[in-house]
Amino acid sequence: MTMTPERTDSAMLHSELRVECDPDAIIRDGHRLDHAEGTSKPLRPAPEPQPRGAKVRGNRPIDQQEAAARFIAATEHEKMHDERLWDLRQKRDREMHGIPEWEELRSLASAIKEHTLTHLDEYLDQFEANARSNGIHVHWARDAAEHNKIVHGILRDHRATSLIKSKSMLTEECGFRHYMASVGIEVIETDLGERIQQLDNEDPSHVVVPAVHKLRTDVAEVFSHTIGTDPGNTDVHYLAEAQREATRPLILNADAGMTGANFVVAETGTFVVCTNEGNADLSANVPKLHIASIGIEKIVPRLEHLAVFVRLLSRSALGSPMTQYTSHFRGPRTGGEMHVVLVDNGRSERLGLEEFWTSLKCIRCGACMNTCPVYRRSGGLSYGATYSGPIGLIIDPTFNARKYSNLPFASSLNGSCTNVCPVKINIHEQIYAWRRVLVKQHEVPLAKKAAMKAAGVLLSRPAAYRAAIASADTALAHLPRFVIYNGLNAWGKHREVPHSPEQTFHSWYHANRGAKR
């Protein structure tokens, strides 16, 4: 315990969350440690009941705005979520500035992924051959149902009834826990955030920090009902330790272990798993049987390419130089058995979508979510989908265009997501392109359509666009409030529209730089 008053140089969005003395801080060499997903500054929100996510009703379009409004109304949750994710973004920037070749790494990562995706069949073939020769059993699953059936089959062959697993977005995509419950297999999540979400019977709200939308008081309540902690004790160290103690016997006695994979290396038949807790290594190395579920897009050709991605992943995700554990599995251990399930589940079809195939470059770092003003203020559960935030907006409609038809509209198209993406996916352009596709497919209501049509005409004609922006800025400065904050402008509902600039960038450039050309 340290009671050192702290100074931070980075600006805060909600300075009222600041506390002067932080008994939770770990101080080393006179500095606050903020590796992994640790905050760079002490934050203390007030207790408040947790807002829940979007209402999911079968195939009906998710009303993201409705759920976002409830999240925004829970002001402590909203402020904390906003601040914490913005802190991750600032830590990411700090790491970026520490590496002179950062932009070159991004370009390399993008080029390596695009090359691999345009030769995906060859590299998968190569991986399979090498993994098999190392003693790994390789399975292929067309979709979620087949994935679940294959894993169930492996477990049945081993008479396994309990499974410890590390976090995997792919298994979320497959509804894996739900399926396993239906066939009587006990699944225990071993990542703290994912375990919190499992015990609360709620989906993860973020690809990297699954319980980031919860306050310590929410976790204390969940744990008091499920693992028997003192409901009055909201100390984070106490809660984390209680979970460690409760999970350890489940890890020791599990019949099988499961992980996902962050990367796959074709030339060596290796798969790579990154965690901060070491929970994937426990899941893989304690039981005799290890099953890894892997999306087919995770592959890179050679080890030299892997280096680029490992350097980018945790820095982009959390602003930490490396995950605490980066583990390379090339074959089973002595006396053990290792299975890999390669899952398509819509990926090969996505490869054929001319405007959207590069979304398969995604390495699930969550940087686009951390920077997105809509995501930070509405919470991941408001999207009602496996993938939330900017990357969710362009992936979810490929799973169900009707159910997720509203999602591509949950964006201000500011492009920050594209700027931070470590593999250079043009996320905001794909968001806009999805709006066009969904309008064409009649998945979008009338009010949005009319605005889209007008915007489409403008955006296709640069001169008209510039004229419109200039007059819109003038108009914003003079129009009465009800014109801006009306029911048709959803994103004016809960926030002030930013002050419009006195001069557009284009006219500034023309006046100040244009003559030099």
Partner: protein, 203 residues
């Protein structure tokens, strides 16, 4: 058709018609730090690990002996320090659940990130590095590479079935961003710089 053939056929039917050559990846080692050891130490400390400075007395192993003085069960896989749990006799990984300290030697380390690489050859039973409460890693100062590009040229990634970069201890901040060491794995990781015993190479 099998699922494998179905998936590969679907990929081939959907492959983007775009020419995307595989780029050359540089080693990014033009400007290495003056001392790999001190760069490694700084990176390790940022990631929550501890570097055990050799004491003035010259007794390099003294910091390790001090750490394990009160420990009930010590599992050592290195000749430099004796433990009281022989990893070779362990039947199941779970039999290591009561280990207080595990002591192992790293294959090599990375200055850029403060990582040590532990392979199945270093650990004997992989689980020991996660089930123990604390981990002490011996590192030969000659075994530090400058960055991850150099690291991935090492033979361990082609020879070993299991190899893991440990960068500090097990950590989480999944609750309100409060940093906790010892989420599921080891509560602390300490690195002791000490040359490999002569006649005890790992390769």
């Amino acid at each position: 058709m099998s699922s494998r053939d179905d998936i590969l056929a679907s990929i081939r039917a959907n492959l983007p018609r775009a020419d995307r050559p595989l780029p050359h990846v540089p080693l990014f080692d033009d400007d290495p730090p003056a001392s790999l050891m001190s760069a490694f130490k700084d990176s390790l400390h940022r990631m929550g690990g501890m570097f055990l400075d050799p004491p003035a007395s010259g007794d390099i192993l003294a910091p390790v002996r001090a750490k394990i003085a009160d420990a009930k069960i010590v599992c050592s896989t290195v000749p430099e320090i004796a433990g009281n749990r022989d990893v070779v006799t362990v039947g199941m990984p779970r039999d290591l659940a009561d280990v207080d300290f595990a002591i192992v030697r790293a294959s090599f380390a990375v200055a850029e990130t403060g990582s040590v690489l532990l392979s199945d050859a270093d650990l004997h039973v992989n689980g020991v590095a996660y089930l123990a409460q604390h981990l002490i890693v011996l590192l030969d100062p000659a075994d530090i590479v400058v960055n991850l590009h150099h690291a991935y040229r090492r033979p361990e990634f082609r020879d070993r079935h299991y190899a893991s970069f440990h960068t500090g201890p097990s950590a989480t901040a999944d609750i309100e961003g409060v940093l906790i060491h010892g989420a599921q794995g080891v509560r602390s990781l300490s690195v002791l710089p000490i040359a490999r015993a002569v006649g005890n190479p790992t390769h």
